[in-house]
Structures are given as C-alpha cells and as structure tokens.
C-alpha cells in the first residue's frame, strides 16, 4: 500500500512536471497563453505528487512498514515517535522527498501569487524553470535516489533506526526542514532571474516581483543554519557549535551570496545598477545549494572517487554544471542589455558601501568554497588525503568579518549618491561613542586580544548605527517604524551584531579540560566548581541512558550521559549544558569506568556568551519576519527634508521699513 502510494506520488510528480514543462514551454514559444495558464494545474499535480510520496513514506515509517527498503534501513520499532517522523529527512532518499515536496509547495505558491499574470512571459518562463527543476528532483526519486524500493523482511525483522545522533535532540525535527525551506526557496528568485534573461526584461520588474520570496528563503536558511549550530552544540558534545566542516560550509556559502544579493538588489532598485552582478549572485546562490547538496550527499566526503559510483553524485554535479552553463550563456547573450548606463558617483555613498559589502561577501564565500573543495581537488589529482583545518577558515574570515561589521555600522547612515564629511560626523557620532564604550567596557571586564576587542567595538558601533535608524523610524512612524524592509533589516543587523559579539567572545575565550573524578570528588575550572555526585541509569525502549550527575557551582545536578542504543551497539554521548547570560558550562562524558570507585572522565567546556548566539538568531528571525511585511509606503507628496518652521521669519535686526 505505502509502496504503491509512494511510487504513484513520485510518478505523478515526475509526469506532471514533464508535461507541465513541455506545455508551458510550447505555449511560451508559440505564444499560446492559454497553454501557459495550464501551469496552475500542473503545479497542483506536482505538489500533490510530492505530498503523496511524503505521506506514503511517513505512513510507512509510522506503521513500521519494513517492506520499504528505506524504512528497513532507517526505521525501527524502538524509535520514538518524533524521531520516527523526522526519519523522513534523516537519510538521502527521504531528504530528496522533502526537497521535492517543498519545491512543489513553492511552485503552487508562485502560481497562486501570480495567478493573474500567468500569461505574462516573465512568469511563464519562471514557472517553466521551476518545472524543469521539479523534473530533476522527481527524476532523482525515480532513479538514483529511489526511496520506494521494495524489501522482503524476514519474520520478526526490526530495522536499525536512524543514526543515533539523529534521535538525540528534538531540534533534529526542525532544523533540516528549515534549511530545506531556505535552499529550495532560492529556486523562486533563480527561476525569475532566468525568466528575466530569457525575456530580456532584465530591469527592475522581476526584482520587485521576487524580493519577498528571496527574503523568505533567506530567512529560512538563516533559521536553519542557526538551529543546526544549536543542534550541533546540544548533541555532538564537542563543546562547540561551528566546526567549519563541509556540511556547515555547504549551508553557509549560499547564505553568504544570498545576503550579498539582498543588499545589492537595493542598488539596482534605486539606481538601476549592478544588473549582471545581481543576476549572477542569485544564480550562484541557487547553484551553491546544489553544490552543497552534492558535497553532503554524493559520498564525495568519504572519497573523491566515491561519488562516481553513486548515481546521485553524478546527477547532482551534471545539474550543477547545467545551471552554471545556462546562466553564463544567458548572461552572455543579454550582456549588452544588462550593462548599466549609470556609475557609482562616490565610494562614500550607500551604493558604494553596498558594493564593498558585496565584494566582501563574495570573498567570504570564495574563501569557504576554496577551503572546502581544495582537499577534493588534491585527492583527485594525486590521491593525497589532506584536510583544511579550522585555522585557515579563522584566519581568512576574521578580517572579512570585522570589515563587514564596520560596513554594517557605516552603510545605514550613508545617503545615496554621495555623503559629506559633516553629514557623516553628525550621523555617526553616537554610534561611534557606543562603539568606543563597548570596547572600553569589554576591556574593563577582562577582554583581551586584538580581534575580539575590535569585534566588540565594531559590534557596538554597528548596533548604535542600527539602533539610531530604528529610533528615528519609530519616532516618525510609531510602531510601524519597526516594520518593512529597511526597518526590519535594521533589526536583522542587531541580531547579526549580537551573534558576532557572541561568536567573538565564545571562540576567543573558550576553555576546555578533562577531569577524571570519583564520586564526591570536586574540580575547579575556569571559575566554576564541579562536584561529581554519582550515576543514574535510565532504561528506555530505544536506549540505555547512563547519566553522570554533576553539580556546577551548587546548581543541578546536570546530567551528561552515555547512551547505548539497542540497535547497532553504538554508544553516543549526550552533553549537558548549563547556560547563563554570561557563560555556558558544557559537560560531556568521555568514559565511565566500572569498578568499585566508579570514576568518570568528563570534558568541561566553558565558553562566554553562548546563549546570545541563539538570542541573536531569534532577533534575526524576528527582523526578517518584520522585513517581509510591507512597510509604510512613502507618499509622493511627503516632504523628504526637515519641515519648515511654522513661526514667521523674524525680521533682520536693524531692518527698516
């Protein structure tokens, strides 16, 4: 039943996508708008196909239908309900179902949003592009990543369940869908970019049509990355949240190019410039989501030669190449029209700052891309297995990050075209003082080291600048001064500043040590007292949890544990974290020794300001949400400069009648 439903869903989705692309494409080429309008039905069918496939898989997972290979490989009767549900995206094939479902959802949303403009060639070509992307993902589900393969389970068969790390924290149920909503969401602006290139309508119309879609996709990706870091921190037990590993890098690269686009698009909207750049950034963002999927899903991480043996690896890299080729060819063909007639008047202007910010974001993405693919290139060339460590990423990204913070402080107060020194002095005075005060405060409370202290100062500067904009906006417009792209953007800036400061503090002043303690023994570390109180064993259906009870500064007991899962005999640690607004103490169990004294070895990681990373993420999400809502439209007859005094002008002294 589940097998049949799933296969029917995938086949329906693929068939609808193919027929839809052919019909819409034919309608566009032959100028038959009635055919293009049929896209709404095809979109609905594609979505329904994805929904059916996802429903069938969820049903199979929930009912433990081991006649499906995917369920036999990843399901288990012992897996708790939430993780069982989340197993849909716990392995490759299931995650492609989720991708296809979300893509179908976005397709339907685009059709609904543009339902009155379906015959418009711009919308038509965008839908055609989205349908082609749908063909690719549904084809993966039919071919190389088929989740609906049958399996004959022996009597009494029970699967191993998902990877134990994927059933250790509820965040697993939320962060992958968020990431996918972000990744897949970028298909919409990409499709409109391609449509703009095909139709030659490379002006600002398509930008206005897609800016909210881009913001929503970016918001989801941001939330996905932050939740992923949180999950890593709460589950993996290494005492950190960002390790620069390929999976993290794969999610950060499109975020960086997407962020660059969100800024540079303002320059095109206002000044009609950076058209090639904006289209390139969007296409790069989408291409990077596919490259990221290739890096994380093709098996290339195990060995550069492994991906050729997995069908999905070859498919993804070909699709990536196709995206890049299509984009380059179309930009080449439209090159003349894309060239802007204007120029940036002064580097000290809003557009100058945005351009600088874009160069930095692009450099940031390039640094990470290079670091991520360098080991693959080396291995492909001479079979040497090398690794690019954390120092490379820290050294290269730190100066870029600091410069971006500086620009974040300057750019919001800059006017378009050019700024005078006096204007800058006036607008930056308070933010600069806040920056200096932050730096002094940081030094007084014990911050040391050039990079973190500068980061705190620049963070204060940028926060002051964003705060100034928000104060001015709310004075003018009341609560509506917090809504809209510009004002919501300033709240996002505040979130970024909070994260930047927390990142600088937590990565610069991390302290880590291991202690072997016997019951009742205590240890002092980084200003905290740890007392080992004993052990507690909890027997659950899926695992045996061996908790180590430790009091931190008299609070607790905190209970990091070693979990022995019923299937697979794997022992996985679960850390326990005591969070306060000033620092986090994270405990992980390394070993529990049997014997009379029952000593345990625990790892203690103390990092300042960690909780602010998640608070900053929340502020960014709130800001994005507020930015999505339409702000107050400026009335064309509104005065843009200060109002004139209502008092009658005084007569000059000594004036005579």
């Amino acid at each position: 039943m589940n097998l049949a439903l799933g296969r029917a869903g995938v086949t329906l989705g693929l068939a609808a996508a193919i027929l839809g692309a052919v019909t819409v494409g034919y309608g566009l080429i032959r100028h038959r708008p009635e055919l293009v309008r049929l896209s709404r039905w095809y979109a609905a069918l594609v979505f329904f196909g994805g929904l059916l496939a996802a429903f069938a898989m969820e049903r199979a997972l929930i009912t433990r239908d081991f006649t499906l290979q995917y369920v036999a490989d990843n399901g288990s009767t012992k897996t708790p309900a939430l993780y069982n549900f989340a197993t849909l995206w716990g392995a490759l094939e299931g995650s492609i179902i989720l991708w296809a479902l979300i893509l179908g959802g976005y397709l339907v949303a685009v059709v609904l949003k543009f339902r009155k403009r379906l015959a418009d060639p711009l919308v038509g070509w965008a839908l055609f592009t989205m349908l082609v992307v749908c063909i690719f993902f549904f084809w993966l589900l039919v071919g190389p990543a088929n989740p609906f393969k049958s399996f004959s389970p022996p009597v009494g068969f029970d699967g191993p369940g998902p990877n134990p790390l994927l059933q250790n924290h509820p965040l697993m149920a939320f962060h992958p869908p968020m990431l996918y909503l972000g990744y897949v969401g970028f298909t919409v602006p990409f499709a409109f970019a391609i449509a703009a290139l095909v139709t030659g309508r490379v002006g600002e119309g398509w930008l206005l049509a897609t800016r909210r879609w881009t913001l929503i996709a970016w918001g989801f990706l941001t939330a996905g990355i932050i939740l992923g870091s949180w999950w890593s921190y709460e589950v993996l037990g290494w005492g950190g949240y960002w390790a620069w590993d390929p999976v993290e890098n794969a999610s950060l690269m499109p975020w960086l190019t997407g962020t660059a686009y969100l800024h540079s698009v303002l320059v095109q909207e206002r000044r009609g410039m950076l058209r090639v750049w904006n289209i390139s950034l969007l296409c790069a963002t989408f291409a990077l989501t596919i490259l990221g999927t290739f890096i994380t899903r093709s098996g290339v991480l195990e060995s550069v030669h492994a991906f050729t043996t997995s069908g999905i690896g070859v498919s993804l890299i070909i699709f990536f190449a196709l995206i890049v080729l299509t984009t380059v060819v179309l930009i080449g063909l439209r090159g003349d029209r894309l060239r802007s007639p204007g120029r940036i008047d002064s580097p000290l202007s809003r557009e100058g700052a945005f351009l600088a910010n874009n160069v930095l974001f692009a450099a940031f993405a390039f640094v990470i891309l290079l670091g991520t693919i360098f080991p693959l290139i080396v291995e492909a060339i001479n079979d040497d297995r090398v690794s690019v460590g954390v120092p490379y990423f820290n050294r290269m990204t730190m100066p870029i990050g600091l410069t971006l913070l500086f620009l974040m402080a300057i750019a919001p107060v800059l006017p378009w075209r050019k700024a005078s020194g006096e204007l800058l002095r006036h607008r930056l005075l308070w933010p600069a003082w806040i920056g200096v005060a932050s730096m002094v405060f940081a030094v007084v409370v014990g911050a040391r080291g050039f990079a973190p202290v500068v980061a705190f100062g620049l963070g204060g500067f940028a926060a002051g600048s964003a705060g100034r904009q928000l104060v001015l906006a709310t004075r003018r417009q009341g609560w509506r001064g917090l809504v809209g792209r510009a004002n919501g953007g300033m709240i996002v800036h505040l979130g970024v500043v909070i994260i930047a400061v927390a990142f600088a503090a937590s990565s610069s002043y991390v302290r880590q040590a291991e202690f072997t303690l016997t019951q009742g023994q205590s240890a002092e570390f980084a200003g905290h007292t740890l007392v080992y109180e004993g052990q507690n064993v909890k027997i659950e259906e899926a695992k045996i949890v061996n908790q180590v009870l430790i009091r931190i500064d008299g609070t607790g007991p905190w209970a990091p544990s070693l979990n022995k899962f019923a299937n697979g005999n794997q022992t996985i640690g679960t850390p326990s974290v005591r969070s306060t607004v000033t620092d986090d103490v994270a405990l992980s169990v390394i070993a529990i020794k049997d014997g009379e004294n029952g000593s345990v070895t625990v790892r203690v990681t103390v990092q300042p300001l960690i909780i602010w990373l998640w608070i900053g993420g929340g502020v960014m999400a709130l800001g994005t949400l507020l930015a999505v809502f339409p702000g107050r439209r400026r009335n064309p007859i509104d005065a843009v400069s200060a109002p004139l005094s209502v008092e009658p002008p005084k007569e000059p002294t000594g004036a005579t009648a």
Binding site: H31, P121, T199, G200, R201, V202, G203, E204, G205, L236, W238, G239, G240, A243, W244, D245, P246, E248, N249, G272, R275, L301, R337, L338, R339, S340, P341, G342, R343, A363, F366, V367, L370, G371, T372, F374, P375, L376, V378, R385, V386, S387, V388, G389, V390, P391, Y392, F393, R395, M396, Q512, A513, E514, S588, I590, A591, R603, T605
Partner: protein
C-alpha cells in the same frame, strides 16, 4: 486576427518621443546624463515590452496574410489592416532602435585599464587564497573530516595521532621519508592537543615520546640525540604520573638499552605487568630482555 486596435500606444509614444528628439536636431547636443532622462527610457523592461509588441505586430501581419490567402478577409479590410499593422510595427521597430541607441549612447565607455586591473586583482586574490589554503592544509588523519574540526576529546585525539603514526610508518616503508616526517610531526602535534586538554594523560605522554624516538631513528645523529632526550622526558613524566602504565616502561627500557643503561632498563622491564600489554609488545619486551641480559645495545 490577433492584434487589437487599441494596442500600440507604447510604440506610438516612443515614436513621438523619437520624432521630438529628431526635430530638436541642429541644437547643440547635451552631454548624455542618465539622471536627466526619464528612468523609463532606459529601463530594459520597457525595451523588452516594445520588442514584444514589435514581435506581436509582425506575427499579426503574418496571420493577416494567411487569412487573406485563405479568403477569410476581403480586399478592403485587408489593405486597411495591413496599413495599420505595418505603420504600428514600423513605429515599434523605430522605437526599439531609438531606445537601444539611446541606451548605448549613455553607456559609459568600457575602461580597459580598469577592467585589466580588476582581473589582475581577482587573479592575485585567487592565487593568494590558493597559496594560503595550500599552506594550511595538513595530512588528513583517519576519521578526520575534509575541512574544519570539531574539538576532539583526548581519546579521539590519541586515536587520530595513532592513525597518523601508522600512515607515517607506511610512508617510510614506501621510501617517502619527507612525507613520513610530515606525518610524524602531525602526530606529535595531535598528542600535544590531547595533552593540552588532559595534561595528565599518560597515554598521550608515552606515545608522544615514542613518536619522537621514531623520528630520531630516521634523523642525523646530532638531531637524533636531542629528540631522544625529549622522548625520554615524556616517558619519565608518564611513569611518574602512573608507574603502572606498562607501555611507558617498555619504551623507556628500549631507550635505556640503546643508551647502554642496562640496569635502569632491567628495572623498568621488571616493573612491567606482562598481562597488561598487548601481544605484539610481548615479543618486543622479550627481545629487549634478551638484549639487556646480554648487555647488547640495539
């Protein structure tokens, strides 16, 4: 019949503008300034709309010819419609040409020097970044990721270091001593990381010392002596921390035998719990015992 009679306003407006521009000829040409022109004049979307309209009118002309040939349109209607379409298509074509020319005239000249400078800059940044990533790349230990690294606990770091030592031995056997040295150094560095978070880890101390001794075996005499002295320090420290840790005793006994300190070597050998050491080490211990008994250096 596909063209509507109400269409063509954009084309006509553009044609009127073009005509106005032509009538102003003879006056001194103003310097092109994008800000002084209507934004819409330079908007690619407006140009695309005109092109769409042009294509639409040309298609309508084709349709008209077809319908006329099929006898669906009478002569007078045909001529009237054809004149109308032709005039409108011509206006659209002129408008497209004029706008294209206007956009082209306002476009700044490409500055080749600046383009070249930009390309050179991008090249320098790319090569520089490539060099930096090359300098920062290290041997990938078994179990280690492609990039980045989660902070490992001491037992994982020791496993990583042991893996690197194994790789180094393989490189030595393959005759690539330079690569082996690099791998041994990575192993030492990894043991240091383990000792940083777990300063009393006797396993890390012991095997760091042993790796230093292995490097010494493949070094020149003067360097080898220094390395062996350092190795000895680590082994002494490990035994001081945990006198029952047999591995450290075995390794120190080997160093003592090599140095001709047979009494000290014998004391360490006697302190070894033979049940606590792995099989491969048993053979090693027996060989050392024979050497010490015979007063024979390695």
């Amino acid at each position: 019949m596909t063209a509507s009679t109400g269409g063509g306003t954009a084309a006509r407006r553009a044609a009127r503008q073009a005509a106005t521009a032509k009538s102003a000829k003879g006056k001194p040409a103003a310097t092109p300034n994008p800000s002084s022109r209507g934004r819409r004049d330079l908007d690619p979307d407006a140009l695309a709309a005109l092109e769409e309209e042009r294509d639409f009118l040309l298609r309508s002309l084709q349709d008209l010819e077809r319908e006329y040939a099929a006898g669906d349109v009478d002569q007078s209607d045909y001529e009237e419609l054809k004149d109308d379409y032709t005039a409108r298509a011509a206006a659209a074509i002129r408008a497209v040409d004029d706008r294209s020319a206007a956009v082209k005239s306002l476009r700044p000249q490409r500055n080749w020097k600046r383009t070249a400078l930009g390309l050179v800059l991008v090249g320098v940044v790319a090569v520089g970044a490539g060099w930096i990533v090359f300098r920062n790349a290290g041997t990938r230990a078994p179990g280690q990721g492609l990039t980045g690294d989660a902070r490992q606990d001491s037992s994982n770091l020791i496993l990583q270091a042991q893996g690197l030592t194994g790789q180094a031995q393989a490189s030595l056997q393959a005759g690539d001593s330079a690569k082996a040295l690099k791998q041994f150094e990575s192993a030492v560095q990894t043991y240091d990381e383990a000792l940083e978070i777990s300063p009393e880890n006797v396993q890390a101390m012991t095997y760091r010392g042993w790796v230093l001794h292995t490097i010494a075996l493949n070094s020149e005499a003067s360097v080898a002596a220094q390395l062996d002295a350092q190795a000895r320090q680590y082994l002494d420290e490990a035994i001081a921390t945990d006198p029952t840790f047999s591995d450290a005793r075995v390794f120190r006994a080997i160093l003592e035998r090599n140095a001709g300190e047979f009494a000290a070597a014998q004391a360490d050998l006697d302190a070894i719990d033979m049940n606590a050491i792995p099989v491969y080490m048993t053979q090693m211990v027996n060989a050392v015992k024979e050497d010490v008994a015979a007063g024979r250096r390695d």
